[in-house]
Structure formats: C-alpha cells, structure tokens
C-alpha cells in the first residue's frame, strides 16, 4: 500500500507544472473576487480527481500487467486508489481552507463559522465524485469510462424524473421533502451529506474491489 501511494505521489510530480498553473489561477481568483472559498472547492475537486489520472497512468502501455505481479493484492490496489484520492483531496481541502482564511483575513472579510460551513459543503461533493468516478475508471478505462459516466448520470436523471412524476400521479408531493430539508440548519445538512457520501464511498469501494478481482491483464 505504502509503495503504491509513493508511486502515485511520484506520478503526481510528473504533472507539477499543471498543478502549479491551477494553484496560481485559484489563488488569483480568490484574491481578486469576493469569494475566497472558490479555491477550496476548485482545488479540492481538481486534486482529488488526479486519482483517475493515476489509474490511466497505470493502464498506459499495458503497465497493469507488471503492476499486479508486484507484492500487492487486487483489493489492496482498489483501496489504495480511494486512500490516495482522500489524502490528496482532503489534504488539499485543509490547506486550501487555511489559505482561504488567510486571504479573507488580509481582506478583512473573514467569517469563520460561515466559511467552515461552506467549506464543509464541498466535502460531500468531492466524496461523491470519487465514489462515482473511480469504479467507472477501473472498469472501463479513461476513454470508455467518460462515456459510461455520462450515460449513467443521464439514466439516473431519467429514473429520478420518472420517480418524481410517478409520485405526483399517486398524490405524493416531493416538494414537502425539499421544504423539510431546507428548514434544517445548513451545518446539519452538510453533516448528513458527508455521512451519506461516506456510505456511498464505502459501497463504491466494494464495487471497485469486485471489478479488480474480475479483471484480466
């Protein structure tokens, strides 16, 4: 696991110029605009998605065949990808939050509770993205993976819409649920969403492990 993490961090180094540009853009926008938290969301999401790039790097030139002769298990590989995503996304989130506070502090627009809540809201988005995208990337690879994700999201929206329509025809008003949620405090909603995302991430990990177990190289 540690060896794989080191490998992925070394691969991250390959794209250091790209990340430097991203960092400059994020800090620049945060300084110029009112919203210092922009960079928290932007950087956390971009960095956590680098997990997908490492999967592509691993697959490139039939690299997986050699990779799985190393002393690692297939399940261990899947777990490592999630850990790497969380370390990278989580680490970036913490650093970006600190940087956002500092920038806000300089500008004198700091409001710690509000910023924390807004920052917290980014976490479930990051976790959900990983939960959805990692299994697709592992199963279909980078090119087919994108098509598969778009198709799945489309199907999910269609199912969601159909369910809403069905509920309305049988007399259940879904707007009540929305009203119920909006009555809650945003921090409670954020915590619920983070917990919900963690559960989804664990389910996604289970799926990824079974995808890896069945793969042939």
């Amino acid at each position: 696991m540690k060896g794989l993490l080191i490998k992925d961090f070394r691969l991250l180094g390959v794209q250091k110029n790209f990340f430097f540009v991203i960092l400059v853009v994020a800090v620049g926008i945060s300084i110029i605009s009112e919203d210092s938290l922009f960079m928290v969301g932007f950087l956390s999401l971009v960095m956590s998605l680098f997990t997908l790039s490492t999967i592509s790097y691993d697959e490139f030139d039939n690299g997986n065949a050699f990779l799985f002769t190393l002393p690692i298990s297939r399940g261990g590989y899947a777990v490592e990808k999630y850990c790497f995503g969380l370390l990278l996304g989580g680490g970036t989130w913490i650093l970006a939050m600190l940087a956002a506070f500092m920038i806000s502090g300089f500008k004198g627009t700091i409001s710690v509770p509000n910023s924390l809540i807004s920052g917290l809201a980014i976490l479930p988005v990051m976790l959900l993205m990983q939960a959805v995208m990692i299994p697709f990337q592992l199963k279909f690879g980078s090119e087919k993976g994108k098509i598969a994700i778009i198709s799945t999201v489309g199907v999910l929206f269609a199912i969601g819409y159909a369910v809403m329509e069905m509920m309305e025809t049988i007399g259940v008003d879904m707007r009540n649920a929305v009203v119920y949620f909006s009555a809650m405090h945003i921090s409670i909603i954020s915590v619920i969403l983070v917990l919900f995302s963690v559960v989804l991430l664990l389910i996604s990990l289970r799926i990824s492990i079974s995808i890896m177990d069945k793969k042939e190289f």
């Binding site: 490998k7 180094g13 790097y57 065949a65 690692i72 190289f217």
Partner: protein, 283 residues
C-alpha cells in the same frame, strides 16, 4: 518451486493445456513460436488471467492462496509491460524499498550505475536495451527465490543480450535454491542458459528435455529415399519430406552414427529441433 498441472485456458481458436515443472536450482526454458501459448502460460502463472482448469503451485502453495509476502519472493520480467514509463529510476527506489522487505538498494544503485542507466531520466526516454536491463535489474534486486521472465531479451542486440544473460547467471550463482522460468524466441539464449527446456506448440507441450541431452543426443538425419527405407524408424521423432529425400529428427544420435556411418548426421540445434518438431510428421 513451480508446478503447472494441466493449466487450461480457452480463447477463440486457441486452447492451452500445459504442464511443466521448475525445480529449485534450475533454469527452465519455455520455447515456441509466436502465438504458441508462452505468454498465456506466464500470465496464468502470475495470476494476471483466470484459468479454465488445472492448477499452478508456487513454493508448494496454490497460486490463489499466494500472499503479497509470497509475491516478494518472485521476480518478474515481462517483455510488454513494466513500471510506469513516466517514472525515473530515482522514483522507483522508494517504491521498491516499500514494496520489498529485502530490496537491496546499494546493489540496485551500484548495478544501475555500472550499466550506465540514468537515474533521473524518465524510463520512456530510455533505449530498448536500457529498458530491458532495468527490468531484469529490478527483478534481481530483492533476493527473489523464483524469477519468471517472459522474453527478457526481446528486441536486444547480441551484446546487450549477452550482458543480460550474465546478470541472470550471476543471480543464480548467489543461491543454489533459486530457480528461473524463462521464455525466449531466440533459442541460442536458452541453449546457453537453461538446464532443461519445454517446447510448446499450439498450446501443448510437445517436448521436454535436459538441454545437455537436447544438444548432444538429438540430431538430424539427412537421407535419400533408399536410405530412408533401410533406416531403423524406432528412434525417429519426426520426419519431413525434402527435395533430396527425408530429414529425420532423432534423440539417439550415437545409435545412428554407429549403425549408419554412410548417412549425413547433423547435430541438433534448438532452432532445427523446433522446426522439425513443429513441421515434421510423426512416424
């Protein structure tokens, strides 16, 4: 060390059924033409593809019950795969250090310097020879007990091949319990390196012999039609019709030399034996 019993794998138009054994202290070669089933056998032994039947035992354990720490004792070289080429040797060192408890960093660095492999260059910028040397160097750098090498000399010139084979020999000399399973389409590499050789054709093992026996007792008899009719056919493994008559493969060279001094007998080389085993007909 490694035992394969009726390993089966079916693809469209190809069926593998392979049995072989690699004993401690031995270098066992697997030879065969492209598409004969060498790489499929290697991939199955390494657990990279599923098996449709049969069993693979490594260090006395079933392949599927091998743990990552068992895998630390196996060194692997694949001709078509390796470490991500976006990494450099300097990047690889901490990875190997954390993957293999017995990784010998000083040996690795020393050998890399001796072979003039650049430490900071990305592997994708290496020449074919450099890449091949690096793959073998990685496999022998953590005191593995078993090396599994699929075409480690593919695409190399004579000098680079000789250097690589020397590395493999040195590795074997350090511990007599070590073993190697190696494939190559360059038969002369295997002739000088292997203790025994398996020949694979259309997914089946068609010959298994000690290399010494193969080179000393196997021979090609070149006979005309009349000589062929008087020849003792009991020890002919394969026969092929030629413009001059028949070319016959035997594993009893001395017998024919003693009893048929008038016929042309040529010493068996690996290439000729393969050619006859594949193209010739059984008596």
């Amino acid at each position: 060390m490694l035992k394969i019993e009726h390993l089966q794998k079916q693809y469209d138009g190809f069926s593998l059924d392979c049995s072989l054994e690699v004993k401690p202290g031995c270098i066992t070669g697997l030879i065969g033409e492209n598409g004969a089933g060498k790489s499929t056998t290697f991939k199955a032994v390494l657990g990279l593809i599923g098996m449709d039947g049969g069993s693979v035992t490594i260090f006395g354990k079933d392949l599927h019950s091998l743990t990552p720490s068992d895998k630390e004792k196996i060194g692997v070289v694949l001709s078509d795969s390796g470490f991500s080429e976006y990494l450099s040797i300097r990047d690889m060192i901490p990875i190997l250090k954390n993957m293999y408890k017995k990784f010998d960093m000083s040996f690795f660095v020393e050998q890399a310097e001796r072979m003039q492999l650049p430490m900071n260059k990305k592997i994708k910028e290496f020449s074919t020879g450099m890449k091949a040397k690096l793959k073998v160097l990685v496999a022998i750098s953590y005191q593995a007990k078993l090396l599994i090498m699929d075409e480690p000399t593919a695409g190399l010139d004579v000098l680079a091949r000789a250097e690589l084979l020397d590395m493999i020999r040195e590795f074997m000399e350090k511990d007599e319990e070590r073993a190697i399973m190696i494939s190559s389409h360059i038969s002369s590499d295997l002739e000088t390196l292997c203790d025994d050789i398996y020949m694979i054709h259309e997914g089946k093992i068609i010959l298994h012999e000690d290399t010494d026996v193969l080179l000393s007792d196997y021979a090609l008899l070149k006979v005309d039609k009349k000589q062929y009719e008087t020849l003792d056919h009991d020890y002919l493994l394969r026969v092929k019709q030629e413009s001059y008559g028949y070319c016959c493969l035997t594993n009893q060279r001395q017998y024919y030399m003693d009893n048929y001094p008038e016929i042309v007998i040529e010493k068996g080389t690996m290439d000729r034996i393969i050619m006859m085993m594949v193209r010739g007909k059984t008596e």
